[in-house]
């Protein structure tokens, strides 16, 4: 597995190359994509991007956790978490790309 990590900058650079906007505007638009997805999830909506995957919000109930160092019990309050389910296209692409 590669150690390389892509960031917003790499995504902006790809938009800059593919679409021909300025670097600045490309960066703003990448941010806008992420912002809209986040806002929609915060509203409790599911975000379904065909051929990429589905982000959904799940409610987790309260539970008793434990501090692993001290063994002390701590209450964990109910919270919302995101689950991401990759599309078959993504799963196949990632499996094939990293095979053998």
């Amino acid at each position: 597995m590669s150690d390389k990590t892509l960031t917003r900058m790499d995504l902006s650079e790809a938009v800059f190359r593919n679409v021909g906007l300025s670097r600045n505007e490309s960066a703003t638009l990448v941010e806008s994509v992420l912002q809209h997805i986040s806002d929609s999830l915060v509203q409790g909506e599911t975000v379904k991007i065909s051929s990429f995957g589905t982000f959904s919000v799940r409610d987790k109930g309260p539970r008793v956790g434990r501090n692993p160092k001290t063994g002390e019990e701590v209450p964990i309050s109910p919270r919302r978490v995101i689950s991401f389910r990759p599309s078959h296209i993504m799963k196949d692409r990632v499996a094939r790309g990293n095979a053998g």
Partner: protein
């Protein structure tokens, strides 16, 4: 929200752009993430989350219908971890 609605929202905020360019922008973002993971790379988008590749070990599986043993090869699968800012926003902790 689905892909076309996301494209629509961004198009409405950027009336100086052609619809087809907005489509290309949105598609580029998602395609780049998939291609990076296909190369075994991570994509870290601070505040939003990180996409990475996890390797599932080879195992002996079982056909649930026949009970027959089958060899399941090692496999790479995509994984997403939510970023701290988004996790906090989901739980009402706005910055």
């Amino acid at each position: 929200m689905i892909r076309s609605e996301l494209i629509q929202k961004i198009a409405e905020e950027n009336t100086h752009l052609y619809q087809r360019d907005v489509e290309r922008i949105v598609n580029t973002v998602f395609d780049e993430i998939i291609e990076a993971m296909a190369r075994g790379e991570r994509v870290e988008l601070r505040g939003f989350g990180a996409f990475s590749v996890k390797v599932r070990d080879a195992r002996i599986g079982r056909n649930p219908r026949t009970g027959e043993s089958v060899q399941v090869d090692q496999k790479a699968v995509p994984f997403f971890k939510t970023g701290k800012l988004l996790r906090d926003r989901l739980n009402g902790k706005e910055e």
